[in-house]
């Protein structure tokens, strides 16, 4: 059966659906790559109605999801958007991972995480930013991150459903020779109202696919929605309770070999010498491979590969970073903060003058360490390299980048790269990185024609991550005579994640440029402060840093909400009321605080030894407020008893998923607040595995109560926004209970046990 030929005009429409004028920007023609990518996944008997949906003659509906499923429930949420407008039951829609194509570019992630949007950075010539924009455009990143999955798909997914529905209705109307306004679509069937004639989507699909794609179909008003906004069971859950879900680490291919690695423990170090002969006779060993930063053994099972690589004698040239330590890094932050350097992200009024003239200045220094992602599924990548092509199976968050680097590492033409994205056992930003694909392809290249599955051990993972940056902040603040904030000066020193990330991709693009992510949640806080100066001092380090769930918000919320609490106590005001006073012009922030006050029973005092702390933070376009109740004794045994969480993420697609993401983000942030610390000594990471990089477990996990408070603001993200407020809420609760102010994480550093 011939495939529908998409015309240029149709492509402009389809391309236009993904926003940002991408279709035009990529100069689409009839034979554009999108067309090829879509058609490649359309088997005979199926018709490509548009870039997103396929319906076959038996009425089965599959649609391409451009995002990876990593536990955020995106397969379900996006299916809901489509089913709503397509007028089918949720259960009749089957999502499949989208083929790699510019049509699926996640434009929201680009706009948010790369600095070129220049959203709140103030006044710097952004030639570097311009360069970044070019690169971003070139890359056309298909990525899953920045809590953007649903935000990015909200409109195109519904539009796609609406367009397909209209085409099916038109096809029926034409066939019956009636006007389409006399027909309705419901549950996968079109009905002619007066005659009662019906036709299923499957019966109509062939006729529909010959029609022009209609322009601009209006979406349902909110009150007509039947699926969106109502909790739906996640479609990926059944296979996640019986062991059948396939993750990257589970990939099994005919004749597959296994690889394990030993890497230079020092960042930037290289292999000086090795003795591969020493291990070649070990059981199952097929080959040893040496690359820049380490060595690999390929064997017939992972365990044999791992044992052999451990036994493989290697000496490393530790390079220029062998003396690096966390201590020295914090000393550098200290120096940077004391200098005049800095790039301002908020500058209004006369903050410095006010502070220099004030009698009483409240000042504080805050610190956070490096953190590892520690996704539950260890890093892995399977690659099959042949003379002229490469095929990769990898749990990843950035398909475009992964494919691009597979192509480079294998040295094959771009069109000969195939990438499969199975389920991700967690992502949290770690799987945006290209290190695993480059390593796996480099190793597999030495065993051409056989797939090689590379698995990192947990030790590899903890010691060779791209870390959430360590950071330090200094604050100075003053109050008016009536106890409001008069001046607020906040300086943060940290390396730029975007710079580090970009440099890994394109070493030649390394340049110092504004990076909104460094100041996110510090420059753009909601509080009404007339005199405010927030500056970030970029402090480049040789430790690779990366996107870690909520990025800059993860430390800036701890800094700002900790200091906000200090200001409240200095003003002798209730911390919640103090925040209310400073957001009076924002009805949405006020509503979140009011709701939080009510649900947490804030005004009822807690007994001795217990305390309540609050934090409020906006990130990824969602507002989250949290109140934490803790118990703590004089031996610093702390119990996080309960967390109340209120979120305003605008329109809610799947309420239960929003709740699950709130719980998840809170616990993720709590692990970091209580225990999370990656320490650098002698240029290497001290921690190795879960015993020394511990996590919250059932016994120290609080009860969590989530309330949704949609104010009607635009759709916000939900994957990350509950992480930032938890750490400050906890330290604020400790202060309320004990009058001890914690300004450095994790709490275990101060002798607390949970």
């Amino acid at each position: 059966m011939a495939l529908m030929k998409l015309t240029r005009r149709k492509f402009l429409i389809a391309g236009g659906l993904v926003g940002g004028g991408l279709a035009v920007g990529f100069g689409l023609g009839d034979d554009g790559p999108e067309n090829a990518a879509l058609q490649a996944t359309t088997s005979s008997g199926e018709f490509a109605l548009n870039a997103w949906i396929k319906i076959n003659k038996s009425g089965e509906i599959t649609f391409a999801i451009p995002q990876a499923e990593m536990g955020q429930g995106v397969y379900t949420s996006l299916s809901m958007l489509l089913a709503e407008e397509l007028e089918v039951e949720l259960s009749s829609v089957t999502p499949e991972m989208a083929p790699l194509a510019p049509v699926y570019v996640n434009s929201t992630a680009l706009m948010d995480t790369l600095p070129f949007s220049d959203g709140h950075h103030q006044g710097e010539a952004t030639i570097g930013a311009w360069g970044m924009k070019k690169i971003a455009g070139m890359l056309g990143v298909q990525a899953t991150g920045g809590s953007t999955s649903v935000r990015n798909a909200w409109e195109p997914m519904q539009k796609a459903g609406a367009i397909a529905r209209e085409m099916l209705v038109s096809a029926a109307a034409e066939e019956w020779n009636v006007s389409s306004s006399e027909c309705v679509a419901s549950k996968g069937t079109v009905t002619h109202k007066s005659s009662g004639k019906t036709a299923s989507y499957g019966e109509l699909v062939e006729a529909a696919s010959a029609l022009e794609i209609p322009d601009d179909i209006p979406l349902k008003p909110a009150n007509a929605r039947k699926i969106i906004g109502k909790s739906q069971p996640r479609i990926d859950i059944p296979e996640k309770v019986d062991g059948s879900a396939v993750y990257g680490v589970d990939i099994d291919l005919p004749n597959m070999a296994h690889a394990a690695v030993k890497l230079c423990p020092v960042f930037g170090g290289t292999v000086a010498s090795w003795d591969d002969k020493a291990i070649l006779n070990m059981p199952g060993v097929i080959k040893a491979v040496r690359f820049d930063t380490g060595v690999a053994v390929i064997a017939d099972s992972f365990w044999r590969a791992k044992k052999a690589v451990e036994a493989l004698p290697v000496t490393f040239d530790e390079g220029p970073n062998a003396a690096l330590s966390s201590e020295a890094i914090f000393a550098e932050f200290e120096q940077q903060l004391a200098s005049d350097e800095g790039r301002s992200y908020a500058d209004r009024g006369e903050a410095l003058e006010k502070i220099s003239q004030a009698d009483t200045v409240i000042s504080a220094t805050y610190k956070v360490p490096f953190l590892a992602h520690a996704c539950m599924e260890p890093m892995n990548c399977t690659a099959l390299v042949s003379d002229n092509d490469v095929e990769v199976w990898m749990p990843n968050q950035a398909q475009t980048l992964i494919a691009w680097f597979a192509e480079k590492a294998a040295d094959v033409p771009a069109e000969n790269v195939k990438l499969h994205t199975p389920y991700l056992g967690g992502g949290f930003g770690r799987r945006l990185e290209i290190d695993l694909v480059v390593m796996a392809v480099t190793i597999a290249k030495e065993l051409k024609g056989r797939p090689v599955k590379l698995i990192w051990t947990r030790e590899n993972d903890v010691q060779h991550d791209m870390y959430r940056p360590a950071a330090q902040a200094s604050f100075k603040g003053t109050l008016t005579s009536s106890g409001e904030i008069d001046a607020w000066n906040h300086r943060v020193a940290s390396p730029s994640v975007t710079r580090s990330f970009t440099k890994r991709m394109l070493p030649w693009a390394d340049s110092d440029m504004p990076d909104n992510s460094t100041a996110d949640g510090a420059g753009n806080i909601p509080y009404q402060i007339s005199n405010m100066l927030m500056e970030h001092v970029p402090t480049p380090l040789e430790i690779p840093v990366g996107y870690w769930r909520s990025v800059g918000h993860s430390y800036n919320a701890f800094f700002t909400e900790g200091f906000m609490d200090e200001m409240a106590w200095a003003a002798k005001k209730d911390p919640l009321e103090f925040r209310l006073d400073h957001v009076s012009e924002h009805t949405d922030f006020t509503a979140v605080l009011q709701k939080l006050k009510e649900v947490s029973d804030w005004s009822t005092p807690l007994p001795e030894g217990r305390g309540r702390g609050i934090a409020l933070h906006e990130s990824f376009k969602s507002i989250v407020g949290q109140v934490v109740e803790i118990s703590v004794n004089k031996d610093k045994e702390i119990s996080i008893d309960k967390v109340f969480c209120v979120i305003d993420c605008g329109t809610v697609v799947n309420p239960d998923t929003v709740k699950a993401q709130m719980e998840s983000g809170i616990i993720f942030g709590l692990s970091a607040a209580l225990f999370g610390e990656i320490t650098i000594e002698k240029g290497r990471v001290v921690q190795e595995n879960f015993p020394d990089y511990d996590m919250v477990r059932l016994n120290n996990c609080p009860e969590i109560e989530v309330h949704l408070a949609p104010s009607g603001r635009p759709l916000g993200g939900v994957g990350e926004p509950s992480t930032p407020p938890i750490a400050p809420a906890v330290v604020n609760a400790i202060f309320a209970a004990t009058k001890t102010r914690i300004r450095e994480l994790p709490l275990s550093k101060h002798g607390y046990t949970a």
């Binding site: 536990g71 296994h258 099972s301 056992g425 879960f690």
Partner: protein, 152 residues
């Protein structure tokens, strides 16, 4: 050659005696529902049952498993979901899902010994890590499964 009984089936494997049960299950027998998380008995992702007892298979040399009855996530149900698995769906527990085989194996063993679970008992018995933070739902699901099993 070592002979093993996995999910009621006898099989023989040709591996070194120190090979962890986890890797025999995953790479040799191709039962990949049991997951690798840490390799040092710290996370519980690799939990299986040996003679009905929960063990962390990454730290059990295969020689110790000879002559025992090994049960993995693939072998706990006879086609229909168990009460624990059903409760996991009802409470919408999994997120990424990677830890859940181990969680379900740990919870199943715990409920067998403790048909009326307590929060303290759960805390003590189930020390697996879920990086996605599905703990509040795991707790609810265990209580729900216990109730369902009591009614059945």
């Amino acid at each position: 050659m070592l002979s093993l009984t996995i999910n009621g089936k006898k099989t023989t494997v040709d591996v070194e005696e120190d090979t962890p049960l986890l890797w025999v299950l995953r790479d040799t027998v191709k039962l990949t529902g049991t997951k690798f998380g840490c390799g040092v008995a710290a996370c519980g992702a690799c939990t299986v049952h040996i003679n009905g007892e929960p063990v962390r298979s990454c730290s059990v040399p295969i020689s110790d498993a000879v002559g025992t009855k090994i049960t993995t996530i693939e072998g706990i149900s006879d086609g229909n979901l168990t009460a624990v698995q059903e409760a996991w769906i009802d409470e919408q527990v999994p997120q990424c899902g990677y830890c859940q085989s181990g969680m379900i194996m740990a919870a199943t063993a715990y409920l067998k010994e403790n048909p009326t679970p307590t929060d303290e008992g759960i805390d003590e018995a189930i020390t697996n890590i879920c990086r996605c933070g599905s703990y509040p739902r795991i707790r609810k699901a265990i209580h729900r499964a216990a109730k369902q099993m009591a009614e059945a």
